[in-house]
């Protein structure tokens, strides 16, 4: 048997339901074994299966607003006592697995002889406030770890490419920067969670990390790729690609963060698409004016190893110059042809 507590968001009273028949279906529709009448719960939202004694599994039935545990959307998850699961905006607490008498008995035993571990699952009273429960410690730890790893990677590559800098310093600077963003994001997430109980931390972090990763990727790969191509249009296309990936990542994660309901997610996606379009337009404008501009400010080709293969005799250079000169002279003739009407002869 399974004891569940169902709490609809903002409602003060929670309902308790004990489930004895498996599989048990949950949803808004009256055909379900457990009917939860709330707008954010789908008609057929989820199903609970019994695997063995005291082992239950919850399976999402393709619901619109999803099933969340620890801030992550889950397709299925194994139920354990003390879990808080969200079906849309309805909280489902797993109060107890198995028979009701067992925990009471266990507590008696432990009271009698504290040195004996009876191996029974126990529900400990919670010391942390609810909004800090669950993954808070894990979150801080993982953030630290991830920042450390990323700062090593970024720091080392910056050291390699920006000559003459101390490797230790570059790693530390990058680490500080990443930790800074993480520690700004974390309290925001905690506060948001405290008030709404729904705000997710990891999507924000994902978003920030994706941004920095794409930024780094663009900065690193851009010159590498653009280098030997000697083709400004292609370079611009690559930049376009990076910019698009950047916006996609940004709005994808942003959408995940905000989306409690489908319409909101759509809104985010649409605004993302509009922003992307503006970005694309901007880049297209750049592409159209950039070929000459890029040659004016053009840089050395990148891969040192590949220059020997791509090099040409000087004759080819002179041919290239001759072509450009021919184009310029054509322009010159055209531009000069306009003038006689404006500048007449000296005689009056």
């Amino acid at each position: 048997m399974l004891l569940l507590r169902i709490q609809i968001e903002n409602a003060t009273i929670a309902q308790e339901a004990s489930v004895t028949q498996f599989p048990c279906t949950l949803g808004r529709s009256q055909s379900n074994a457990l009917v939860i009448n709330h707008g954010t719960v789908s008609a057929q939202h989820a199903k609970i299966e019994k695997l063995a004694d005291n082992e239950y599994r919850l399976i999402d039935q393709g619901s619109t607003n999803g099933t969340y545990f620890n801030g992550m959307r889950r397709r299925e998850l194994k139920l354990e006592a003390g879990q808080s699961i969200w079906l849309g905006q309805v909280k489902l607490d797993v109060v107890r697995l198995g028979v009701a008498e067992e925990p009471a008995q266990a507590m008696d035993l432990s009271a009698r002889d504290p040195l004996v571990d009876h191996g029974q699952p126990q529900v400990q009273p919670r010391k942390l406030p609810e909004f800090l429960r669950g993954d808070a410690k894990k979150m801080v730890f993982q953030t630290l770890l991830l920042s450390a790893v990323l700062s090593m990677v970024f720091g080392i590559d910056r050291y390699l490419f920006e000559a003459g800098k101390s490797p230790f310093l570059t790693v530390m600077v990058t680490f500080t920067f990443l930790m800074g963003t993480a520690f700004v994001a974390m309290p925001v997430a905690f506060v948001a969670r405290f008030f709404t109980g729904r705000f997710k931390f990891w999507p924000i972090m994902n978003c920030l990390l994706a941004l920095s990763i794409f930024y780094q990727a663009g900065a690193l790969l851009g010159p590498f790729l653009s280098f030997n191509l000697n083709n400004p249009q292609l370079v611009s296309t690559l930049q376009l690609f990076f910019a698009l990936s950047y916006y996609f990542a940004l709005f994808y994660f942003l959408g995940k963060t905000i989306s409690s309901t489908a319409p909101k997610r759509r809104l985010v996606a649409v605004s993302g698409a509009i922003t992307s379009c503006i970005a694309v337009l901007g880049i297209l404008v750049r592409v159209s004016i950039s070929p000459e501009m890029m040659s004016v400010t053009g840089r050395i080709s990148y891969p040192i190893s590949s220059y020997s293969q791509s090099s040409h005799p000087v004759k080819q250079l002179i041919q290239g110059l001759e072509e450009k000169v021919a184009e310029v002279e054509k322009d010159q003739t055209k531009a000069s042809a306009v003038k006689p009407s404006e500048r007449g002869p000296a005689s009056e």
């Binding site: 053009g298 220059y307 040409h312 000169v325």
Partner: protein, 462 residues
């Protein structure tokens, strides 16, 4: 707070002397200057006042304006070289009348009255022009035949700043030559408005034509040697003392002169084909004679590397129109070394420097800004065509691999004259590289190709 780098840059700029024409002075005020007639008659010979007295009847003020009584567009001086009405002046004084004849006319002011003058001959490169007025003068200035010694006393006569006709005293300080450009160097305070006036010796014979001063210097002036003027006068004055027919469009003639000058300049450079400049382990084609060179360390990258820069530029150029320069070049060599950096770090640094060379962040003045301007600014379209750029990785005769970026634009209305901007960087793996930047203004495509090829092939290691 001022960064030491910018202070340095400023100091560097200060040392670059700019060559400025003294006639192109836009004066808004209208009104002719009435000259005082009183001159002391008994001055001893050889003094400024006797020289002035001898010269004065043959020097006039000259203005370009839309009509006889209209305020002037530009203002200068002119002097009589033939009493039938032929006067010499600077090209830049009459440039408006030559290039926009529909709008501007030239007037010589004789006895306070503006008389219409016609431009009959020009030498854009030497900045000379001859104008003709229907007025019989009592005589003309003579050409001096004696060669001068440094220190010889010279006088410059003209109408500075539209004030009284003046005479200034100075000394001859030799000739300054670069390709087709040759100028008498004078120590005298020539002022705007005196352009086109004569520089004369103590016998009141023509030594040159006042043309320019060196900005940010004290009293260093230039005059076009009289030999060029004499040649122009001889070509123009027909045997029967009649004057050549009025030219409708000076364009083709200007282009021809500029092309000849460009050829001379590139030939002067090619004569140095065997000479090399040397940097740590590198050699390249030496700069042409007559350019002013500076060599110093670049501080900007001092933390990572040692950057040794040599910049050479030409003091003179031809100016067929205001704001258009032709027949001017500039070259910079740069040696970057760093034993400390790993090769890929070095390469990264080199890439930064190479990129900087194309932008004004690297004390660039002139062409590149114009090139970038012409991409962004529509107003420059009137002067230059759209820049066409290319790049290539090449291996030269000495088996040195180089990356080359270049851009070419054309001067509008001067067909066949081009501006070019080229950058080279060697792509050797060792921690020493040579970079070169070449700016060409108003050269022919042949010249450009020749210099381009010679410089590319000249780079070698030793």
């Amino acid at each position: 707070m001022v960064r030491p780098d910018s202070v340095r840059k400023f100091a560097f700029r200060m040392t670059i002397a700019f060559f400025v024409f003294i006639g192109l002075r836009l004066l808004a005020a209208k009104g002719e200057v009435t000259e005082p007639r009183a001159i002391s008659a008994n001055a001893p010979p050889g003094t400024a006042s006797t020289v002035f007295q001898k010269t004065k009847p043959y020097v006039c003020a000259l203005k370009t304006a839309v009509s006889e009584n209209a305020p002037k567009a530009s203002y200068g001086s002119a002097f009589v070289v033939d009493k039938t009405g032929l006067l010499a002046t600077n090209y830049h004084v009459v440039v408006d009348a030559v290039r926009t004849p529909k709008k501007y006319k030239t007037f010589v002011i004789i006895d306070g009255k503006p008389i219409r003058a016609k431009v009959v001959a020009i030498d854009v490169v030497r900045d000379l022009a001859l104008v003709h007025v229907s007025h019989e003068f009592s005589g003309a200035l003579e050409f001096g035949g004696v060669s001068l010694e440094t220190g010889a006393k010279l006088y410059s006569v003209g109408v500075p700043e539209d004030l009284n006709m003046s005479i200034v005293e100075g000394n001859y300080n030799g000739l300054q030559k670069n390709g087709p450009y040759e100028n008498v160097v004078l120590s005298s305070p020539i002022n705007p408005g005196m352009s086109g006036g004569p520089t004369i010796n103590e016998q009141a014979q023509i030594v040159g034509v006042n043309v320019a001063i060196l900005r940010q210097a004290q009293n260093i002036s230039f005059a076009v040697p009289a030999s060029y003027l004499k040649k122009l006068v001889d070509e123009t004055r027909l045997p029967d003392r009649a004057v050549a027919a009025v030219v409708d469009d000076w364009g083709p003639s200007i282009v021809r002169q500029l092309k000849t000058a460009a050829d001379e300049l590139s030939e002067a450079w090619m004569q140095k084909a065997s000479e090399r400049v040397e940097f740590k382990g590198w050699r390249a084609h030496a700069p042409p004679a007559g350019l002013k060179c500076w060599r110093d360390q670049k501080e900007k990258y001092a933390r990572e590397a040692n950057v040794d820069v040599q910049r050479c530029m030409s003091l003179f150029s031809a100016s067929p129109e205001r704001d258009i320069q032709s027949g001017n070049y500039e070259i910079a060599y740069m040696n970057v070394t760093s034993p400390r950096l790993k090769s890929f770090q070095f390469f990264h640094l080199l890439d930064d420097i190479y990129g900087d060379l194309a932008t004004s962040s690297f004390e660039s003045n002139g062409l590149i800004d114009e090139l970038v301007d012409s991409l962004l600014d529509e107003s420059s379209e009137a002067r230059y065509t759209k820049p066409r750029c290319g790049e290539e990785i090449v291996v030269n005769k000495q088996n040195i691999a180089m990356k080359v970026n270049y851009c070419v634009t054309g001067l509008v209305r001067y067909e066949g004259l081009l501006n070019g901007f080229v950058r080279w960087v060697t792509l050797e793996k060792q921690n020493s590289a040579l970079l070169m930047v070449l700016k060409l203004k108003g050269f022919r495509s042949q010249n450009m190709k020749q210099l381009f090829e010679a410089l590319t092939h000249s780079v070698e290691k030793f």
